[in-house]
């Protein structure tokens, strides 16, 4: 007994009636720092110990309502402010659809937080180093006995009076409980080899798993984002065909849908006589023509079709499109040049569709007219 620090005096009882009686008497005696331990909640004990009703209900209310509110605000911000998308013609903020989620979040936050507050703030658990742990007393009250423990730091505590009190309420057994010296003097040692090894193992496993999942696992079937597919990509080889090419030419003698054969190969003059521009001048066709002209024609002919281009000096200069020759050409004659090329100019039939070529011609006409405007255009 010497040197040990007393925590409390405990009495053990056999029936629930006795423990209720003992608790009532303890309150009468004026003990404040005492506790009753029973294997299950004994009815009427709150009244006997004169405990105030639990306030945890308020926590549930506050956490529940803040869950509701934060769910509503989050959903509103996400679907009406941050990234508004109209879904099914419904308003951006369609409250009725949010009710189920608001309810679920309410329940979730209230349930989690109430339990967290109770266990960690009200009870200050986990606590496995309480002096009552590891005692005969705890063994008994956890199974089938009922115990009362009067703490040594109670202002009315004295060993003799408490012993007398417990005898007075007919405790079957009276056990003094001492602080565990080892636990009191225990200090966590950070540099303990065991702890260091534990840290090292955690670091190793974490980094190993991370490395494996990000650098290896992500590139394995089926985790590889469907990168591995049985189809052929452009330029890939195929063992199916004798020549080994994955990309195939169209079958000889077939014509693709919408394809019109150009009938004037090598005959630009007859093309100029026969072909008529089918695309009427409009805002859209001019816009299309400008886009295509700027992409395909302007590198040599210049943005204004005057030959003042970015490539000037590096190739034989192309003639200006504002010359009388080109201005008096029919649309069909220009079409023939774009389609077949001329001198050093290559064919643009693969870059420009038929309609795009006519649109480019419309745009060239507009450029020509801009430089050689008639009197009537100014008015």
């Amino acid at each position: 007994m010497s040197g040990k620090i007393l925590y409390s005096y405990t009495g053990i009882f056999d029936t629930p009636d006795q423990i209720i009686h003992a608790a009532e008497k303890a309150v009468e005696e004026g003990y404040t720092k005492y506790d009753v331990n029973t294997p299950y909640p004994v009815h009427g004990m709150d009244k006997a110990m004169k405990l105030k009703p639990s306030k945890l209900g308020y926590f549930a209310l506050v956490f529940g309502l803040s869950g509701t509110l934060s769910a509503l605000l989050t959903i509103w911000w996400m679907s009406a402010i941050n990234y508004p998308i109209v879904i099914g013609g419904k308003p951006l903020f369609s409250f009725p659809a949010y009710v189920p989620i608001m309810f679920e979040v309410t329940v979730l936050s209230a349930a989690i937080m109430t339990v967290v507050v109770m266990l960690f703030f009200f009870f200050k658990l986990p606590n496995n180093s309480h002096p009552l742990h590891g005692t005969v007393y705890m063994k008994k009250v956890s199974a089938d006995k009922y115990g009362i423990s009067i703490q040594a730091d109670d202002p009315k505590f004295s060993e003799s009076s408490v012993r007398k009190f417990l005898e007075g309420v007919h405790a079957a057994e009276i056990i003094p409980i001492y602080w565990d010296e080892e636990e009191i003097n225990h200090q966590n040692k950070i540099f303990e080899p065991k702890f260091i090894v534990f840290l090292a193992a955690v670091a190793l496993i974490t980094s190993g798993v991370t490395y494996f999942s990000f650098n290896k696992l992500m590139y394995m079937v089926p985790f590889n984002w469907m990168m591995d597919q049985p189809k052929l990509s452009a330029q890939q080889q195929s063992p199916i065909f004798a020549d080994g090419f994955g990309m195939r030419l169209p079958v000889a003698g077939t014509v693709a849908r919408g394809y019109m054969l150009y009938q004037f190969t090598g005959q630009p003059d007859s093309a100029g006589k026969t072909l008529v521009n089918p695309i009427p001048v409009s805002k859209e066709s001019l816009a299309l023509g400008k886009t295509k002209f700027d992409i395909y024609c302007s590198p040599c002919h210049g943005y204004n079709a005057d030959g003042a281009s970015r490539l000037r000096g590096q190739f034989p200069n192309p003639p200006s499109l504002h010359s009388d020759k080109v201005r008096t050409w029919t649309d069909g004659r220009i079409f023939a040049v774009i389609t077949e090329g001329q001198n050093i100019m290559p064919s643009y039939s693969s870059q420009l569709s038929v309609d795009e070529r006519w649109a480019v011609i419309n745009y060239i006409r507009a450029l020509q007219r801009a430089l050689n405007a008639k009197e009537s255009d100014v008015q």
Binding site: P16, S54, L56, Y83, K90, V115, V141, D144
Partner: protein
């Protein structure tokens, strides 16, 4: 029969066993070495589980094409199984929360086990939406989190409500279960001398001291959790039914769905709990804790909910006729007499006819008969979901796109495997944790409460 006094409420626990004996009995399966029976059961459920693993492996490697699902039947076994397993879970919450609020003391013997079943059933159910997305490792997209695409989930969609409902349900059930387990962990901690067990129980028991200052808050929190779990459980199956009811498909687009689904869920859940408990009380000798009276009460609930489900079937037909919509009428006639008529009549005979036998007190109290009826109920409830999902999808508005669903062997592997998954968890639970709440059962034994407490 004439000797039974029906006006007298029966004691929850038969006899008046000493409290320590209850502890010994409940912790016996945990402390003792597992019996041969346990290993046989574990082998069976483990083999079924391995079917699931193989089925999922095939699905993930080759893709969802391994299943019979195809347009128009895009939902088939997977969603049927999902709804079935979520429904199984509902009985646990009903027993632990709703019956707690209604102060039905007979729940104490079965509550812990039923809660465990809830958790495992929801885990099993949760598998199906995950595997249905085909790439479950990308399932984080289901939750609204700040991502590179800077896009959010669709909050107007019932499928998203489902994500929230099921995950909330799982977490809250787990918390409810764990809170109930804390005092039992502490009891086990005090009982054991085994070093590793002691450390494990100390960690999970959090150093619970059985203090009455704690018990007071503890009981309040238990009440609060029960109060939250009650509307939660109703909301979960309501939202599951929204997956169907909010769409415009004939056979799905019905306002009766939420109550109809909740009743069905409780119905099938009780059948499953009853089935498993009959085995548990036999194997672990819990006949006086999980009494025949408790089983009889569960049968009564099955009779009630079975009749509600039967009423809903009839009402669906009536509304289809009363609505005057030819397509709606066709859907229901097709359901009863079309290509899936066999499934429909299995459902009717298992769900509507078989529980009506429980009107007889004798059948309610005969264990083999009630066991068989409960199995029928579970078969019927699985087919209910199958009929709703597949028969409606396979015959929608446009006859040119009609197509029948034929399950593949992978579908069956996953279905059977899901039972293996569920029962493996359940067996491990029965071996590792107290399947009956020690603290709660002790509190309901005759003479365990003060005689002048006024209760």
């Amino acid at each position: 029969m004439s000797t039974v006094d029906l006006t007298q409420e029966l004691s929850v626990i038969e006899g008046k066993p000493p409290l320590r004996e209850l502890d010994d009995l409940i912790s016996k399966p945990i402390d003792a070495k597992a019996s041969k029976k346990f290993y046989i059961a574990l082998t069976i459920s483990g083999s079924m589980l391995s079917l699931l693993v193989i089925g999922l492996g095939l699905t993930f490697y080759y893709g969802i094409g391994m299943w019979g699902n195809n347009i128009p039947v895009g939902w088939a076994f997977d969603i049927t199984n999902f709804v079935f397993w979520v429904g199984i879970g509902h009985a646990g919450t009903l027993i632990s929360a709703i019956l707690f609020l209604l102060r039905q003391k007979w729940r104490t013997g079965i509550a812990r086990f039923a809660e465990g079943m809830t958790i495992f059933a929801v885990m099993t159910a949760g598998l199906f939406p995950l595997i249905h997305v085909g790439r479950p490792w990308l399932a984080a997209y289901l939750f609204p989190y700040p991502n590179q695409h800077s896009i959010w989930v669709n909050f107007d969609s019932p499928l998203l409500w489902d994500v929230f409902a099921v995950s909330t349900y799982f977490i809250v059930s787990l918390i409810f279960w764990y809170v109930g387990l804390i005092p039992d962990f502490a009891t086990l901690r005090e009982r054991t001398n085994h070093k590793i067990k002691k450390i494990t129980y100390s960690i999970f028991g959090l150093g619970w001291r059985f203090s009455n200052k704690h018990w007071q808050h503890y009981e309040m929190v238990y009440l609060i959790l029960a109060g939250f779990a009650t509307p939660l459980v109703l909301s979960v199956h309501t939202i599951v039914s929204f997956d169907f009811a909010v769409s415009i498909l004939p056979g799905w687009h019905a306002t009766i769905f939420p109550p109809y689904f909740v009743a069905g869920a409780v119905f099938s859940g009780f059948a499953m709990v009853q089935n498993v408990l009959i085995i548990v009380r036999k194997v672990f000798n819990y006949e006086h804790i999980i009494t025949l009276d408790t089983l009889e009460k569960m049968n009564k609930i099955m009779l009630l909910t079975g009749s509600m489900v039967g009423y809903a079937y009839a009402m669906e037909f009536f509304i289809a006729w009363y609505s005057g919509l030819p397509i709606e009428r066709f859907t229901f006639i097709n359901r009863a007499f079309g290509p899936y008529a066999w499934a429909y009549w299995i459902m009717i005979s298992c769900n509507v006819i078989s529980p009506q036998l429980f009107w007889s007190r004798k059948i309610r109290r005969t264990i083999p008969v009630m066991f068989v009826i409960a199995i029928f109920v579970n078969i019927g409830m699985w087919f209910e979901r199958f009929v709703i999902i597949v028969s409606s999808l396979s015959r929608d508005f446009l006859p040119s796109s009609w197509h029948l669903f034929v399950p593949t062997y992978t579908d069956f592997m996953i279905l059977i495997g899901s039972f293996g998954f569920f029962f493996t968890w359940l067996l491990l639970f029965a071996k590792a944790l107290p399947v009956v709440s020690m603290a709660e059962v002790k509190a309901t034994v005759t003479g365990s409460q003060p005689s002048h407490g006024g209760h």
